[in-house]
Symmetry: C2
Subunit: 375 residues, 2 copies
Amino acid sequence: MSRFSFTLNATDGAARSGVIHTPRGAIRTPAFMPVGTAGTVKAMMPESVRATGADILLGNTYHLMLRPTAERVHALGGLHRFMNWDRPILTDSGGFQVMSLASLRKLSEEGVRFSSHIDGSKHMLTPERSIEIQRLLGSDIVMCFDECPALPADEKAVAESMRLSMRWARRSKEAFGDRPGHALFGIMQGGVTRDLREESAKALIEIGFDGYAVGGLAVGEGQEAMFGVLDYAPGFLPQDKPRYLMGVGKPDDIVGAVQRGIDMMDCVLPSRSGRTGQAWTRRGAVNLRNARHKDDPRPLDAACTCPACRNYSRAYLHHVVRADEIIGSMLLTWHNLHYYQELMQGLRDAISAGTLDAFVAQFHAQRAEGDIEPL
Amino acid sequence: MSRFSFTLNATDGAARSGVIHTPRGAIRTPAFMPVGTAGTVKAMMPESVRATGADILLGNTYHLMLRPTAERVHALGGLHRFMNWDRPILTDSGGFQVMSLASLRKLSEEGVRFSSHIDGSKHMLTPERSIEIQRLLGSDIVMCFDECPALPADEKAVAESMRLSMRWARRSKEAFGDRPGHALFGIMQGGVTRDLREESAKALIEIGFDGYAVGGLAVGEGQEAMFGVLDYAPGFLPQDKPRYLMGVGKPDDIVGAVQRGIDMMDCVLPSRSGRTGQAWTRRGAVNLRNARHKDDPRPLDAACTCPACRNYSRAYLHHVVRADEIIGSMLLTWHNLHYYQELMQGLRDAISAGTLDAFVAQFHAQRAEGDIEPL
């Protein structure tokens, strides 16, 4: 079995393009990871997710530990086999979702005690248990268990939380041990405070990880503050390891993050939007529920090659969204994931060609035009 | 443009196998038509419906006239283009669904006045308007507008209703006119009364249609009564035209109907069941919600080649059904439609080989075994 490794192929300013090699296949970076929350990227067959160009999926430890449970997934041959996806999977640690979804949370040095949002059952997540769950799931890229405070927050609280996460990072590393072909990523915290981000990065580097995430962003601080952190935070991390910005984002967030040296991202946005009638296109967001589409025979995006754009009119998409037909979610999720992957391919190509500035300028210019005029 | 025609290739007892030729492609009979209610077979991409082996879909006049409206579908290039299905489409007349779904119905010699179940808007369906709607949709096989009384019902009421439907059949034929490449089917009524069925058949034959439906069954009379009618009713119809049993049914209904000389059927059952966690297999119905499946690594049906059976365990199907994940509806609908089409292929092959009795015996024997034992 080959080892986990990262090859940096090209840079353009702070932006980087490369390949993460794993025994389950290559991940072209910058990479966008669709979210397969509970063992499925909602409304998509996994072969369709692959057809959009995704090299890797994200799975949620919190959801899977509660249902169907990590032990059950393990007994059934692991998450890849369970959900019929044989390429790489990254799992989060559960830390973020415990704080956002579970009830009766109690945080201690040991970890987080909480009640399930599904059935109220009591659980405990610790660095050791999170790493064990991710091992049982068979994750290729395992994330350290961390605490992620919502922003804005008191700087002292952010500092204490960050230092707790660094102690948990060390325990995560010890629990992970040596697993050739699998990777463990550390997660930088520190809110929007430069000194704390630097302190966090140094602590992680001292422990040593296969990759480094920038955590604690996209939690309410706004794009300007996020980009403010990304102007310096990636520079605190090793050049030769992948950098992952967790939970980001809208297309313009992704472009800005890549410009600032981020290699990997994940977000529920393209799939969640697809279930509410919202499409993301090169000309911005389009709401298919809007009555302006009801007689429109044109495709959502004439230049897009996804099934929703190749085979259907805006009028059809409007109809199935209004009628709450499942195919509306299927087609718009497919389109959105396709658009996101096409954007990533554009970014990778531009970085390789040294033309990222021109690509980004065109990206913003097209969005500024807005959607095509109504008929 | 070639004309609509029917070729009978083989018979075995009363059962028949053949091909309906249409300008949009051949329909192998006995045929099962998946129902694409409102411009989509729910939870399925049309290319997936085709992959199950379907030669033809059914569209619902009642649903489509209300939303997105027949005029809009017509302006957008017709139903085939609208829903991305270029093979034959049969549309019902709207008569049955007006009586089962609409509110404030008022029946007269002219037709049915009713209010939409979606927004309460007022509409009138007559034989002429139904035929016009089906023409606007671009239907390949158009059904006469009829009235379908629920059973059991008073014989006098059934007779009066049948005679009204026969007057409407004549008006439907006049409204349809001459449309090469398109077919108009008459619908036999008469409940469970042999004399009325014969009277209805004679009235329809006198008018003359491209095919004949047996209507007014599968409306509460039970399988025994339905088979009782099918023991004689198909014999009242011309040998050289296709015979369509509307709204049927469960797998054993289908087998019994084919044995009695039916060539075409439609039913929402495989798709509707797929959205509630119920699968149809050669060993009978399987409820994937049941906890017996939660640790079961075996496929739903080891001999089935559909994606749900090839790529997933019962444990996965159980998980996604319980978690209300859309992929549960997608996979189980696909499986159910695949199973139905495989059953039709088995019936066609057996009729061609003159081995229908053996096929039917095996069909019942496999179902009698029941589902595989729990682990």
